[in-house]
Symmetry: C2
């Protein structure tokens, strides 16, 4: 299967992006000649990773009957110092909200996503050291 995305230059450093499922603006910050009118392109890699593993985990928890009330995923990418700058270390923090967590199932879902299902994780493993943290926030 093939995926196709399209971008059109809008002047200066601004681009319009037709990605699969929607459009948005991409721009550089004013520190490098942009106007900050859209998202930074490189960090979209991290957002791609969060979305991919997030959907895996949510659908696995549903199948395992281990649903949670909410989920937040933060991804931190540490760039190399020299050009071309890439993410050499990437940390994923999963924050599960709810009560009476089925922690064994939640940890299994995260592991299955990282190791077997999430294609974006597979790509990241080829250039970055990936670490994971799971936090549980109990609701009263």
């Amino acid at each position: 299967m093939k995926n196709v995305i399209k971008t059109q230059w809008q002047g200066n450093m601004l681009f319009n992006a037709d990605s699969l499922g929607g459009s948005f603006k991409i721009d550089a910050g004013d520190d490098v000649g942009g106007q900050g009118l859209g998202v930074r392109p490189k960090a979209l890699m991290l957002t791609s990773l969060a979305g991919c593993t997030g959907m895996d985990v949510i659908s696995l928890l549903k199948k395992m009957r281990a649903e949670v009330e909410n989920l937040e995923i933060d991804v931190t990418g540490e760039l190399t110092d020299v050009h071309p700058k890439f993410y050499k270390k990437v940390h994923i923090e999963y924050r599960f909200y709810g009560k009476e967590f089925k922690k064994d199932k939640i940890e299994k879902a995260v592991k299955l996503s990282e190791e077997r299902y999430c294609g974006v994780s597979e790509m990241f493993r080829q250039f970055a050291e990936l670490t994971i943290d799971i936090q549980y926030i109990e609701k009263p």
Copy 2:
């Protein structure tokens, strides 16, 4: 330097993404349990690549005094057949619009981006076979 992005689950397969420089929705298609209310996460990798090399090329052409009237970049990613599905072949098509193109400079700018400046290309090279095509569309 570190980049941090944040995502929050919105029910079903929908996530809100705070990426660097802006927010948007991520969702799966209805073929895999989503509602198509946002962009697909994996294809954001391709959009990241287009934006990264696009900004490089535009700023290099400005420095080289080889500006063009417009630029469109399409990226096609071919996925593996088996899980975890990742982009094994990636093709970047640059379409330059204008007249009296300084083709040697344009080709040098594309090459410099791919080989030296674009960190996203560097990451893609670790898992995908990258190919490039340059097209010139002359304006009357």
